[in-house]
């Protein structure tokens, strides 16, 4: 396509007196074409993202009783209820625990696997495929199978039994239930972060290691001083994706524990679902989703701001 310099404004190239300038200039036509191309995507975003976002704010200002069909404006009452909700503290604690657990386990394991599989050894391709394959498996199917394995008389305790260990009741113990949900989620998605880390590791110039070797740096020192700084943009990216994803966990909780035992695995999204769809408090559910939005936004902005401190190339 021919590109004209669009910085030249109409004022600069004013029409010659007595000669009407055609409406469809190259610039306008190109603009229209561009807009038409993005229209399908734009329509989709407006209908499925922007509009629901605005509606959620609107719903959060109402008490909406689905059964009675009533929809009453109550101002900020739902936000006041948020402050008084005795369940919110434990729910936020569970959410935080899940997120921290997931980020630490997921990024740690993904980086470890990536470093191991970055070696030029036979069979690494097989292992890479093996660790990546859960990413393409259906989330619910994956979780249901793990649910069976984690039962008291399930596969994992059966395996432990053969080596003489009496395994705990994974999904029914307060501590083990959260751990189980985290581990199931880590194994599901660790492959994705692993692949991102692998790509980053392969982009680290080999001569840097050679130079370090000549200077007598140990392998560990090379890792901390060369590898980590050079892949820090990827660490940044994966940590944002993982943190945001961890705050949105739902299916695993719904399938494995339904928020129990007690409320030990009731994370924010699951609590929101309970309030809106099970207890029919749609207005309060909308308020909780705004809280979630604010938390995700704040964490993302925080991470973005902090990148200058530790991401290589950014300072």
């Amino acid at each position: 396509m021919t590109q004209t310099d669009t910085r030249v404004g109409p004022a600069a190239a004013g029409p010659a007196p007595g000669r009407a300038r055609p409406f469809w200039t190259t610039r306008r036509r190109d603009q229209l074409t561009g807009y038409l191309f993005i229209t399908p995507q734009l329509l989709g975003s407006v209908v499925f993202v922007i509009l629901p976002l605005v509606l959620v704010v609107w719903y959060s200002l109402h008490e909406w009783n689905v059964l009675a069909g009533s929809f009453d404006y109550i101002g900020t009452d739902n936000y006041a209820a948020l402050a008084d909700d005795p369940n919110l503290g434990p729910v936020l604690r569970s959410t935080g625990l899940f997120s921290v657990g997931l980020v630490v386990f997921n990024l740690g394991l993904a980086l470890l696997l990536a470093v191991l599989l970055n070696q030029k050894l036979r069979g690494t391709i097989v292992f890479r495929t093996l660790f990546f394959s859960p990413v393409v498996v259906s989330l619910v199917a994956w979780t249901i199978v793990w649910g069976f394995l984690l039962q008291d008389n399930g596969g994992i305790n059966g395996l432990l039994d053969t080596i003489g260990v009496d395994g705990p009741n994974w999904l029914r113990g307060e501590g083990t239930a959260m751990l189980s949900v985290i581990v199931v989620q880590v194994f599901k998605n660790v492959g994705l972060n692993m692949v991102l880390f692998l790509a980053a590791l392969q982009g680290v110039p080999a001569e840097l290691y050679e130079a370090a070797e000549v200077d007598g740096a140990s392998r560990l020192r090379q890792f901390w001083r060369i590898t980590v700084p050079l892949i820090s943009p990827t660490i940044m990216l994966t940590s944002i994706i993982t943190v945001v994803g961890s705050l949105q966990v739902f299916a695993q909780i719904a399938v494995l524990t339904q928020g129990g035992p007690g409320t030990s695995t009731t994370v924010l999204v699951y609590y929101l679902y309970q309030q809106a769809f099970q207890f029919h408090h749609f207005g309060y559910g909308a308020t909780l989703s705004i809280l979630l939005f604010v938390i995700v936004l704040a964490l993302t902005v925080l991470q973005w701001q902090m990148r200058k401190r530790w991401v290589f190339h950014e300072s």
């Binding site: 396509m1 059964l67 069909g69 008389n153 009741n169 035992p261 007690g262 409320t263 309970q274």
Partner: protein
Amino acid sequence: MRYGRLSGLVAATMTGVLALTACGGGGDAKDDGPASLRMTVWSANEAHLKLFNEIADEYRKNNPDVAEIKFDPLPFENYTTTLTTQIAGGNAPDLAWIFENSAPDFVASGALSPLDDTLKKADGYQYDDLSPATLKLWRNDGKLFAYPFSTSPFGVFVNNDMLKKAGQKTPAELIAAGQWNWDTALAAAGATAAKSGKAGLVVRDFDYKGWDNLATFWTGWGAQAWSEDGRSCGFNSPEMVEAMTTLHKAIFTGKALPGPGTTADFFAGDAAMTVTQISRASLLKENGFDWDLVPLPAGPKGPYAVVGQAGIGVMKKSPHAEQAADFLAFFTNPTNSAKLAQFFPPPRQSQLTAETLAKTNPKLKPEQLQKVVIDGITNGTVKPSHSGQAELSQQVRAALDPLWKADADVKGVLDGVCSKIQPLLAK
């Protein structure tokens, strides 16, 4: 330039196609023309749906203003959630099956149309034949908001083969000896579990979450989840503490019930006994094990019965509410009620005889029908229900969780349940 024009054309075409697709569909023929009715049901059982469709086809023959009647099975576990989500999304069905645990919410909300007039006016309906005990849950302000479609008592299904193999007396023998009570039942279950390596007694659908199914147990002690008026908590009453202590011992000491996180399906031959509704008889396999159905064992307060209920209501929002109510009157008239009785015990007194029920329940013996079904419906306590049940139920489930450990402090946990739910009950 030609390239630019071409891409413009492609973009415009894509947008047009998208706009057309977005506009297409959803063209709803509201009140014009013949009505199309939709009823949400929990059962996807082929035999159930076949019978429903037969009755619907017959109705349509004489009612040309109804073009289609569709039965829409929703999964049992999320039935009420799915239904309310459909209502919230503006996609309410015309008729809906409603469980007893959400009955107070639906009946009091004004979401349902009153049915008295339509049912009373229907030809040969015999409205007065409906047992008043079965209507109670579905009434509000003197009006009936749902038809008590299924009133299904809980009984105990027994795998006689498994009990005999473990050298235990069968419940039939215990009944004959006047010894059928929870002590003997739990002892037999524990001994059979120990011998067979399978499960002893399973309270179906409980699974350490669906706690309202335990009403089949604690009612024998005279305990209840909350008072009759629904305003005060019953979980820390002395009767409840005694009942739950017995249950806790049976699970963790006697191993009569499978522990938390362990699944066992009676109908697949994994357990010696199961407490469930008689409508589950359809799960029994031909030429399977030698089975029996007996009433619930007696508790310290003597014999008792517990029933589960489901009603069918007409949604007020339906554009065809009138036709939907008319169809419901046909669906539940004496003739069709007798047909449906093979799966769903009817509320009609004239049909609650062992003789009538035996015709359509070939799997059950007349004495089983009399003892479990008819006596159960007449004298049974309905499973706990309360307005705002979903929230209440979730709070009870979470507060009861600490009970399902070997070293639990039963009284302490039950006090905890009450402190959690009392504010909700008092609302």
